[in-house]
Amino acid sequence: MHVELFIPCFIDQLFPQTAFNMVQILERAGCEVSYNTQQTCCGQPAYNAGFMEECAVVAGKFIKEFSGENYVVVPGGSCTGFVRNYYSKIFGGTDLEQQVIMKAPLFYEFTSFLTEILGIEDTGATLKGKAVYHDACGALRECGIKSAPRILLNKVRGLELIETEDAERCCGFGGTFSVKYEPVSMAMGEQKVLNAIKAGAQYIISTDLSCLMHLEGYIRHHQLFIQTLHIADVLISGAENSILREKL
């Protein structure tokens, strides 16, 4: 299967390795992966700040960069949800409306693409330890992703997944919110991290690096013994001689 990539701007700039890990898993699963090197950002930051004109400029460029013939796989639910659910609002009644109607439903968050489209539940990964899974708001509420990451993580050898009462509670990142309302954002992040530690977790795993980057910032500042991991980084770990590979 041919798939196109959308690498969100901050992953492009800050976490390229995670994006490559995702690519590797997709390729091992038999996908032919292509990436339009002109892509930048989906426009969500401006939209969330209320700057519609600036958003439309960037989003208008963005949507044209996809063929509309293949699935688009994204390492994150937030940007996926934005393209899927908000592009039709931005471009309703414009020249781009048809393109949006055709292309937006092709965008898939990585874990839901693995389980729902490729039918993969086990990537053959191994990671020893206890983890909490953080339901990123974009993945959970914009894309309706709840079971896909848990199905995949439950198959990771050595990994014990702990469900906490606050799994679905926002981590407090929220884009520009995290700098405009730093004390609120931090309070939310702090509770998230402390609850994970209290549950005995060594890892906080999520589909979205924006959440994890914010939590990681708190963890590093306070030198706590817990680590954040993107799910692509988990699903690749120790998977060199994986079942997945043998299967294909």
């Binding site: 700039q13 958003c55 509770q191 500042h221």
Partner: protein
């Protein structure tokens, strides 16, 4: 220089961030709400379609608000009541003052009402020498403490039982360290006297019923009933959005409100008042008034998107699930209506320029939208407010977004500098705003884009 509302908001948020005791109490209280809510939900065999139906009813009603309000007025007047239309808070206050003067009122008992908080009725009556007593226990506690309600339906949820005992001891001379049951009995004794002595009972309204000209009131303590049956005059104050087409709609809205408000299947007392006492009836007030308050609501109505916030039935569920509310508490909003719905409506009820920051102070997690029993897309309405607020944005912010759009329109701009330079720029720009309690993330030496081009 005078601090802006936004600066005060951020300062108070910071205080709450480091207030471990506040965090403990709120987490405890919200956990209880959550447990109750989860227990209550199974009474709906299909919650989603219940919500959809409620949304449809409210949509139809708000889209035809004029028709339903007039219908209510007609029927309520036929029942012998009097409807007073108040365009502003002042008009509502004047109306209450007029009635108080007519009956020479010295004492008013009140059941829980947010809209009377909105118009600041209590201080207004006090200034006219009229004693006002809140009879909802939570509101009574708040009145004793001299604080506004902390939460739409749980006004004193931020107070521990020890704090309440202490308050009763200091303000009412109750013995020290009373347990909650004893405190309730203590308050009850005082309040019973007040009901009998009061000249006027003032209540809020949960639902106005257009077809029968009725006022539906939901409560758990019986104080609403007592406030409306002893005094000779009953005044119900309500926002114009509280209307439902028919008494039959309560079959859906009563359980929806109960479950989302307090996790109950149905609240303990549900009363419908259809005007004053009629000849041959044994009890009820001699006169009954309904004050229909606009006070900015027609501004919401005029905005086709923001209008949806008028569906709100004030259940408070969006506050209970809001992670911002959980962390900053109810008072930091400094507005009558806190939490997500408050952040949506307050900038419209008041001024966008003064209260627009409330719509910005959200991570847009969407938990509010998910829980709302009448399907208000709350987080999308916060976004809508942000769009409206752009014209008030600082020039530097406007410039920054122009610059951002320019950079994101040209891939090569993003690839211009290396990770090292980007780290230095980010440190300059964000060290202060991001980094007091967090380390900044590090830019990779080369972006995915650059690495892909090299490797493929």
């Amino acid at each position: 220089m005078l601090k802006t509302r936004k600066q005060i908001f951020i300062e108070q948020s910071r205080e709450k961030f480091s207030d471990a005791e506040h965090r403990r109490k709120i987490n405890h209280s919200l956990l209880q709400s959550d447990i109750a809510f989860r227990k209550g939900i199974p009474q709906f065999s299909d919650l989603q379609s219940a919500k959809k139906t409620a949304n449809h009813i409210k949509r139809t009603t708000i889209e035809n608000l004029d028709i339903y309000l007039l219908r209510f007025e007609k029927h309520f007047t036929q029942n012998g009541g009097k409807v007073i239309w108040a365009a502003t808070a002042q008009e509502a206050l004047d109306a209450v003052a007029g009635i108080c003067k007519e009956v020479n009122a010295r004492l008013v008992v009140k059941s829980k009402s947010m809209v009377t908080e909105e118009i600041h009725l209590n201080p207004f009556l006090f200034s006219r020498g009229i004693e006002v007593v809140e009879t909802d226990l939570g509101e009574y506690i708040q009145q004793l403490a001299g604080e506004p309600p902390y939460h739409l339906v749980a006004p004193s949820m931020h107070k521990s039982k020890e704090e309440v005992a202490d308050l009763f001891h200091k303000k009412l001379g109750a013995p020290e360290g009373l347990a909650p049951e004893a405190l309730t009995q203590f308050a009850r004794k005082i309040l019973r006297e007040k009901y009998v002595q009061a000249d006027i009972g003032i209540t809020g309204v949960n639902f106005l019923l257009a077809d029968i000209g009725g006022v539906a009131l939901t409560e758990n303590e019986g104080n609403g009933r007592l406030s409306t049956s002893f005094p000779k005059v009953h005044i119900a104050v309500t926002g114009i959005e509280k209307i439902l087409p028919s008494v039959r709609d309560l079959a859906l809205f009563w359980p929806l409100l109960a479950t989302h408000g307090s996790g109950q299947q149905i609240t303990v007392y549900n009363s419908i008042f259809t005007g004053p006492r009629k000849s041959g009836e044994k009890d009820g007030p001699e006169r009954m008034y309904v004050i229909l308050l606009d006070n900015g609501r027609t501004r919401l109505l005029a905005d086709p998107k923001a209008r949806e916030s008028l569906y709100c039935i004030r259940c408070g569920a969006c506050l209970n699930v809001c992670p911002v509310f959980r962390n900053i508490g109810g008072h930091t909003y400094n507005s009558t209506y806190g939490g997500p719905v408050g952040s949506v409506i307050t900038p419209h009820l008041k001024e966008m320029k003064e209260y627009g920051h409330l719509s910005q102070a959200s991570s847009l997690c969407g938990a509010c939208t998910e829980v709302c029993p009448v399907g208000i897309p709350l987080h999308q309405l916060l976004l809508h407010n942000r769009q409206l607020a752009v014209k008030h944005a600082a020039r530097t912010e406007k410039f920054a977004w122009k610059l951002w759009a320019m950079a994101c329109s040209h891939r090569r701009v993003l690839n211009l500098a290396g990770g090292h330079t980007k780290n230095r720029v980010a440190a300059l720009l964000f060290a202060n705003a991001w980094g007091k309690n967090r380390k900044l993330p590090r830019f990779a030496p080369e972006s995915f884009n650059q690495l892909w081009k090299k490797q493929r």
